[in-house]
Amino acid sequence: MSKADTSGLQVSDVYTAYDKADVLEGVNLEAKPGKITCLLGSNGSGKSTLIRSILGLTPPNRGNITFEGIELRGLPTHKVIATGISCIPEGRQVFPKLTVEENLRIGAYQEDSAGEIQRRFDEVYETFPRLADRKAQLAGTMSGGEQAMVSIGRGLMRAPKLLLIDEPSLGLAPLLVKENFNIIRRINQQGITVFLVEQNVHQTLAISDYGYVLSKGRVVASGTPKQLSKTKEVHEAYFG
């Protein structure tokens, strides 16, 4: 797993704890450039903690996390983002008292070119025409589905090389979930590497190139979607 290939995202032997109890206990995985890599696991298995570890929000106690060969562990979050990463966080986390436009704008916080920012606005509004109609609305007053669009759009405003997505389907109606997965696939087709954390096994595997299963802070299975859908770990991780 920790081969010489330094492109993409590499997570090696990562241990992360809140206070004392270890939540991640030696996680190894990799997200290859240009691919969709998924991490499946039941509630509480440590998926969000891994995202937080990558972002430096809850720094790991041990191990290494590299992106394109750059060591991320120990960097403050804004420097992690500066390497070309953006995140669509669990629960969407739109800024409730910022307008839709301001929410999107802050997604491009590290971009200085006004022309480039405008180009990204145009792109996001093209993907989500609904947001274009609601530019001035406070994000906190929108429906869950609309907030999901804001959160995805905000993540895209970064024009990331690697997009981390934490449970995008959580709390959404089935129709919206399907739409969300289609959008993720389209994002990836534009050349963005995707690391997708999900509980929704079937639809996630359907769009992924490679997957891992996390259980109690450890990777218990990995493989192509075809291989994973057959392994007992996937079933155990959810129903065992």
Partner: protein
Amino acid sequence: MDIGFLAQYLMNGLMLGMIYALVAVGFTLFFGVLDVIKFSHGDVLTVGAFAGLATFLGLEAAGISHPAIQILIVVIVSIVLIAALGAVIARTIVLPIRSAPPLNTLLITLMLGTVLREAVRLFYPQGANPQPFPALLPTNSLTLGNFNLRLDNVIMLVAGVAVIVGTQLLLNRTKLGLAIRAVAQDEETARTMGVNFTLIVLITFALGSGLAAFAGLMNGLYYNEINFGMGLLLGAIGFSSAIVGGLGNIYGAILGGFLFAGLQTIGAVALPFASAYKDVFAFGVIIAIMAWRPTGLIQEKISERV
């Protein structure tokens, strides 16, 4: 009552309201980005006023006596110095104790306020006595019956409005302001968007402290006197104004500042007891408002805290 007297009181109320609003905005900014109450804020204002006075005396000693140059340099030196002091306090005291209970921050900054106050008293020459503050602005005046409209007051009011409007524009129209508001709403997500959290906190503390220095100078220019304890009452009033307006809300802080000054003015003019009771009256009404609306006048429409 004579209309000229009323106009005089109105002018006085506006001046005080402006000073209080400037102090209150600082409290609300600090609370916004870090959820802390920084009790040394009033004493930082005192340091600002004294820094301005010392700068003036230095300019006099250096033979620079052109009033326009004097006021410009006094304002710039005081604001820059106090903004830096605010950032240093944030960096060395407020940020390191972030993970401690909020009460600790309150207590520690309360002590820091005492240190600043006592430092002014002990180390400024004759610091224990009130110091005359020079009239650096033109004091020409226009007399209309009982109303004496002074040019320096008009200039200060206009400058105060400009500073408050400028702060609003900074917060609502610039990228820096967007980052400050984002950090205030959700620190972690702001960081996830690539915002340098520590830097934004330091800038916010510098901004709020710079506003306090401006308020301290206004206070000195208005009363032509400053003293080491001036920040105590101004801090208490600014804090009450921020609270009554709805802590964390800029408009609330401005509203609260003018409300407090309005109450003081009513207490001095319209009530049957001596004007010395105006603060008692104003604080009393604030307490009643807080009992009626515990989260302040401008309530948060959307609760972002879990």
